[in-house]
Symmetry: C2
Subunit: 432 residues, 2 copies
């Protein structure tokens, strides 16, 4: 029986999960492939720490990447180190040496995906990265293959488990943003420095990857406009719920007439929308194609074994390509043309405003005038709570271009009777 | 530029959708493939009816299958005729002549899938059938490829749009089963003879296909035990809702220690479960693997264009295989070993009972005794409505083997004080 030798770069959460997945299902995997699959080399910083590990018995554990690169028997490198350097250099070197690469590295793929795929193509090897978005959820492969007959027009993802966990806690328990974040940190769903997640950067990286594949376009992380959830307060969550919405951090790619708009932002999602029931650390990616209409992919967006499922799925596909002599074909991210961008300022959405205003006569009139002057219709207005001398005002306005919304925000801030513009959040329509 | 010639067998809902999908996205599809894709021949019973159809201008429309079979330029046959004969004969003949086949025919694949794939393998051509389950939802390909590192342990599908539409109507509007069915028929979601859908046969076919691919096993429609929704009444829907459940028709494949159990039945689904929010004619397939844990695929389970999306996705994959010279490899349904079956009588579930009983003293005691004698604990009992001399009794019992439940049913029917066992429905646990 033929043997495929694999090297694993990194042995953290995903790396150990990958080794465990292979151990657990080896017989089943090898029967499908008709060959044996051998984890030959693992690259880590401190090999001595792994000497006793049962999972790595018989595996060459090394700190020297040359042990991988110079081993002609290795046909697939799995990169699960994360970060840009030295992951990028290792991947480029492996591809250039004719070694197929599977990566779970969203940071890297979001920035250099289109470039990496070019190098893979030139070297007739595979590069795949299903695990870089949505943990174990099959979404990149289906977007690329099963939905290949569609012009994808819209992708809306809940692709960051940390923020979804925090927002779900705030919704279910009524706790504050700060308390929900602290709880997420205590339970390991958020890092000590949560910036990357709560400010939306992680979601933006995944959106760049989803868009590159779904829209067949050369887009990267830098093309995404990002707003996070750090301004969401319990008042917003409560008001959303009262109106039949839940707040979710959405990663949204839209195909507009003159280009593509890529945005990450929190939004009111109607409870009837399939994305509304995605709770806790789960992820989901909702996709609209011009033939299939709407489909959604759902599952655990992170975790050692779920992510390893995606990594090993890519490994199995790569082995099939090796057997067919077809590596370097049928790959995702193959179109490297830049795509025109549509200004997010022109995107039209309904919006929610929460304002803290003086509780005096005439205030409402002056606020209403600002909206009217900018051509924005107020759909609903509620005065919800009263502080000592202030009232809290919640408004939902009809679909309006973002540039008008930003102009209104500026004008409201200049009004002496407006103490603060506490929040402005998009409201997803029921037709989405 | 190379050209791939395609023939379409059948031009009904899915066939016309397929031609439309190709027309609509031709440029985009051909750019991906680097070749032109030509719908050369369409087989229909009455070619004269299509002479004026714009979509078929320049296409050879024929009633003679030999026009397809004897045309050496045709490399892919799309079978969207439905039914067993002559679809089966046409597919077998095409495969044996070395023509790749894409089929949307669930009736045929559910019965002959493993046999068809053997013929395809022997002739080194592709057979694919993504469209046979879940309309446009990518599920067979992801189950086969992206999740290939998993031992799939459970598949729970809402795979019949008609019954889901009826049950959703009954839940949302409070109408009777009969009224909801009539409405579904009026709106085209149910056929004049709804047996195939409401009795669960259509769901059973799709379950057989999902299991064959997900479990890598030779199972067919005949291996599925089927219960339909025809006994579900508004009382059951109301009671389910009051307890935090919705009733769904589920197609369930379970891997048990000594084999596989395949069942279609209506069940109480907890509102917190992702399957509970699948409404109307939508479908979803919830899958549990031993590495990925749980994932779900969601979308429109039928319809001309959504189903055509799946058909054309298969066509595009087949063309890639043709270009690679790798047709007949990497195909779904490749394992043709029979799999041991686990007796559904031994499956343990929680159950709901609705009984109509005499409204006299001592009745409850005699009923409770029957459950106790069969080792079944009653978890909850509600006496809900009173007729003239009868009471309606709803019970939820703890997890018990189906054989005990059936024994209890028999004993209850023999009790003179029990007027009728109106319904017995499984209750999905929150851990599912």
């Amino acid at each position: 029986m033929k043997e495929i030798n694999i090297a694993l770069l990194g042995f953290g959460t995903v790396g150990s999960g990958t080794a465990e997945a292979l151990r657990r299902n080896r017989e089943f995997i090898e029967r499908q492939l008709g060959c044996s699959v051998h984890l030959k080399t693992v690259l880590v910083r401190h090999p001595e720490k792994y000497a006793q590990l049962e999972l790595l018995q018989g595996v060459h554990v090394t700190a020297d990447f040359q042990d991988v690169l110079k081993d002609p028997s290795i046909q697939i490198v799995i990169e699960v180190m994360g970060g840009i350097h030295p992951a990028k250099e290792y991947i480029y070197a492996a591809l250039q040496r004719g070694i197929n690469v599977v990566s779970a590295n969203k940071d890297l793929v979001a920035l250099y995906g289109p470039e990496i795929i070019q190098i893979a193509l030139m070297n007739h090897v595979n590069f795949s990265c299903e695990a870089s978005v949505g943990g174990g959820i099959p979404v990149l492969q289906p977007l690329h293959d099963s939905l290949a007959a569609n012009r994808i027009d819209k992708i809306i993802g809940i692709v960051n488990g940390t923020t979804n966990y925090i927002l779900t806690s705030m919704t279910d328990t009524g706790e504050s943003y700060e308390a929900a974040l602290a709880e997420a940190q205590a339970k390991g769903f958020a890092e000590a420095d949560p910036t990357n997640d709560v400010c939306g950067y992680d979601a933006a990286r995944k959106l760049a990857i989803l868009t590159a594949i779904g829209f067949r376009a050369n887009v990267t992380f830098d093309d995404v406009l990002v707003e996070g959830i750090e301004k969401i307060q319990q008042e917003d969550v409560t008001y959303a719920r009262d109106m039949g919405y839940v707040i979710k951090l959405l990663a949204v790619a839209l195909r507009e007439e003159n280009g593509v708009a890529l945005n990450v932002y929190p939004a009111f999602v109607p409870k009837s929308h399939p994305l509304a029931s995605v709770k806790g650390a789960y992820n989901a990616i909702y996709v609209v194609g011009n033939v299939v209409d709407d489909v959604m992919f759902y599952g655990q967006g992170a975790g050692s074994l779920p992510t390893a499922s995606a990594v090993m799925g890519d490994v199995i596909s790569t082995i099939k390509h090796i057997h067919n002599g077809s590596t370097g074909t049928g790959m995702i991210l193959t179109d490297v043309r830049r795509i025109p961008f549509y200004s997010s300022l022109k995107l039209k959405d309904s919006y929610y405003f929460r304002l803290v205003v003086d509780d005096t006569t005439g205030v409402l009139a002056s606020i209403a005038r600002i909206f009217a002057d900018n051509g924005i219709s107020i759909n609903e207005m509620v005065q919800k709570r009263r502080f000592e001398k202030f009232a809290e005002l919640m408004l939902i306005v009809d679909t309006s271009p973002r540039e008008s919304i930003l102009r209104v925000e500026e004008s409201l801030k200049l009004l002496p009777t407006v103490k603060s513009v506490a929040n402005i959040i998009r409201v997803m329509s029921h037709e989405n």
